[in-house]
């Protein structure tokens, strides 16, 4: 509900000014004045204020608004809506003259393909999905590569050779985090024990925003002997950090540098975070849109491109930084191929 109150900035009367807005065709027509660009952004369930994935996209949008002077309009999904509602959201944005329109999350995949066909002169972008159309840009991430590094960090920081992985919701996207984490941990410390737990099963997506569930799962893992737990669980990660604090153990954050953004009381348990720079991707895309230089097709944000990484805030991984950076170099050079499932 608080999220709702926050989604209220920018672009007042979109309804009346739609008739004169001519869509710029992708890439070719350029040099639109910065303030002319009206960006539409459709969130996944949770929307702005979820302290996770959607908030990362919102951060990119906010940065674009303040630095590039674009106008923006946001809209979020409701729990349990059918694909037709997602279609309608994208269609409403496109027909109100927003261009480009950014869809946040793979749930928009099928609806976006349909709507992109209806609006060939509007450019679309989708985060975390490879939906194909001549006017869709895909902002995708190599989550497994960043997860490999924090997996290695977890293993190297575990005296008991026992680490844990907590996924928010049991979906293929989070399986990529798990695969990378396991590969990294096993590479760094062969024979390490890895516990895995998912908080909820789809269609229950509450596992991405329920700290209580994270805390219970975290306590269980620390009680079972894990030293370091990777919380790839969005807003639920806060609970895992609390559990780590209570048990005197360590945790790893996700998406943003959580040693900076988490509650002050638990910051010191976060040894590193797997950075997934959705904000950078969204900002880059909008920036290229203002310059008229965007292209359709996938843009992969991997280690090489700096789209994923591990964080060093707090200095808790300084002693193993050389090892981690060596792994990083091997992944970038292709010497190590990180599995995705």
């Amino acid at each position: 509900m608080i999220a709702g109150a926050l989604v209220l900035t920018g672009c007042g009367g979109g309804g009346n000014s739609t008739s004169n807005s001519t869509a710029t065709s992708s890439g070719s027509s350029s040099a639109s004045k910065k303030s002319d660009l009206k960006i539409g952004l459709a969130y996944d369930v949770g929307g702005r204020g979820d302290q996770s994935f959607n908030d990362a996209a919102a951060a990119g949008l906010d940065k674009a608004k303040s630095e590039l002077g674009v106008k923006t309009q946001e809209s979020e999904a409701t729990q349990g809506e059918p694909d037709s509602a997602k279609e309608e959201r994208l269609r409403t944005l496109a027909s109100a003259g927003f261009n480009p329109v950014i869809a946040v999350g793979f749930v928009y995949s099928a609806p976006l393909v349909k709507v992109a066909k209806e609006f060939p002169n509007t450019h679309f972008a989708i985060v975390d999905d490879l939906a194909v159309a001549p006017n869709i840009s895909n902002l995708v991430f190599a989550e497994e590569q960043g997860s490999f590094l924090v997996g290695a960090a977890a293993a190297l920081k575990s005296p008991a050779k026992h680490v844990g992985f907590i996924g928010g919701v049991d979906v293929p996207l989070i399986h990529k985090f798990q695969a990378g984490f396991e590969a990294g941990a096993k590479t760094a410390v062969p024979g390490i024990k890895i516990d895995v737990k998912y908080l909820t099963q789809p269609p229950d997506f509450s596992g991405f925003g329920d700290p209580a569930k994270g805390k219970t799962a975290g306590q269980g893992m620390y009680d079972a002997g894990a030293d370091v737990v990777f919380a790839a669980a969005g807003g639920s990660g806060g609970g895992v950090f609390e559990a780590a604090k209570a048990k005197g153990k360590f945790a790893i954050g996700v998406d943003s540098d959580q040693a900076k953004t988490a509650a002050p009381a638990v910051k010191d348990v976060i040894i590193t975070s797997m950075l997934k720079k959705v904000d950078v991707a969204v900002f880059d895309f909008i920036k290229s849109a203002t310059e008229g230089t965007y292209n359709a097709g996938p843009r992969v944000y991997d280690l090489k491109a700096g789209g994923v990484d591990y964080s060093t805030t707090g200095g808790k991984v300084d002693d193993i930084k050389s090892k981690l950076d060596a792994y990083k170099a091997d992944i970038v050079s292709g010497k190590i191929t990180v599995p995705t499932k």
């Binding site: 979020e76 349990g80 309608e88 409403t92 099928a110 979906v171």
Partner: protein, 378 residues
């Protein structure tokens, strides 16, 4: 009781929902104004869709499955059973239907019927568990159906992993898509828009008629309503109440099996992790709003459908968050319940006044042809 067509009674009957709607509009306006929103723009956006024809089609489509969900809940209500489990039941059914539908090759038409029947049977069996628990172990169906919803979620997630096919280029996973022979094409009934109405809208209409006939024109329906009113009286008149509980849950579940069908066969063709959840709860609200009457529930379903459809334009064109739609829906429901109670009391009071007046005007009528004061008070 006087004749059903007494205009005064009709007026009073219609006044409840109208009053409730006005009250909900008034309170919502206050909420909007308090939040600093443009109240006028909000209602304008809500009441004047940019593309009326498309909004109409989408409203009918949403109304179709919301109505089916309300129907499933209402069958339980008439029997005094609170089937909160419609949500889990329709998802179990739709998942089973999607798996079978994607696995078999059958002629057009038969394929559709098979999928629908599989969904109805699986949903009915899932609901039947709650019925059996109630009659054999005395477990309240409220508790058991809530639990079964949670179990359905986990079970579907587990089984989806076994049968999943990846959706190309996406992080979504789903069942194997149902081939063309198992799909129900949309109908371009509304001219001037490419949007199509679900072909299964006729299934919803047929289900509504079947519900009316079953409950009001059959012995079974009479027994069901009698049991719902008073199970002890039903036992006294020879109804096997335990059997009725199980059968009512099975029928309610079978109706729940229809809820996912318009989406599965008319739009999604596959049960993926983005398949809509939570429609069972919308059904409870709509059944309450429609007072279990097929017409009332159809109107309420369309109203809820329309409000859902309006959520996007509200957000994008009027800068009002989607939660406002949920607030309006909640307020309508709340005020309808209150309004019905107010109108019911008013009706009783009016009846008492009328009878009192008649008794006064005709004081010699003491041989029982007029109602006694005791009767009036009752």
């Amino acid at each position: 009781m006087k004749t059903a067509l007494d205009p005064r009674r009709l007026l009073i009957g219609a006044s409840a929902p109208v009053l409730a709607l006005l009250f909900a509009v008034a309170v919502t306006s206050v909420v909007l104004a308090t939040a600093g929103k443009d109240v006028w723009l909000t209602w304008q956006t809500l009441l004047q869709p940019q593309d009326f024809r498309r909004a109409l089609v989408l409203t009918i489509n949403q109304g179709t499955y919301i109505f089916l969900s309300a129907l499933a809940v209402a069958i339980g209500f008439r029997m005094n059973l609170f089937n909160i489990g419609v949500d889990g039941q329709y998802r179990m059914g739709a998942f089973a239907g999607a798996v079978v539908g994607g696995a078999v090759t059958l002629p057009t038409g038969i394929h559709v019927v098979v999928i629908i029947l599989v969904s109805m049977v699986v949903s009915a069996l899932w609901a039947g568990i709650a019925g059996l628990l109630k009659v054999t172990r005395g477990v309240s169906e409220v508790i058991s159906t809530i639990m079964l919803n949670a179990i359905a979620t986990s079970l579907i997630a587990y089984m989806l992993r076994r049968v999943q096919v990846p959706v190309a280029g996406s992080n979504n996973i789903g069942t194997k898509p149902i081939p063309g022979s198992g799909r129900v094409p949309g109908l371009g009934l509304v001219p001037g828009t490419p949007a199509e109405i679900y072909g299964l809208v006729f299934l919803a209409i047929a289900a509504g008629i079947a519900y009316h006939v079953l409950l009001n024109r059959t012995r079974f329906g009479f027994d069901l309503r009698a049991t719902g009113r008073s199970s002890t009286a039903a036992v006294a008149s020879g109804v096997d109440v335990k059997r009725m509980v199980v059968v009512a849950m099975l029928i309610s579940g079978a109706a729940a099996g229809l809820v996912g069908m318009p989406i599965l066969l008319g739009e999604a063709y596959s049960y993926s992790i983005t398949f809509p959840a939570g429609l069972g709860f919308t059904g409870i609200a709509v059944a309450l709003l429609g007072r279990n009457s097929p017409i009332g529930m159809a109107l309420a379903a369309l109203l809820f459908g329309y409000l859902n459809v309006a959520a996007n334009p509200l957000q994008i064109l009027a800068n009002v968050s989607t939660e406002v739609v949920a607030i309006i829906q909640g307020l309508i429901l709340l005020s309808v319940v209150v309004a019905y109670e107010v109108v019911r009391r008013y009706r009783i009071a009016a009846e008492q006044r009328r009878v009192a007046r008649e008794v006064q005007e005709d004081p010699v009528d003491s041989d029982g042809s007029g109602p006694s004061p005791a009767e009036v008070r009752a």
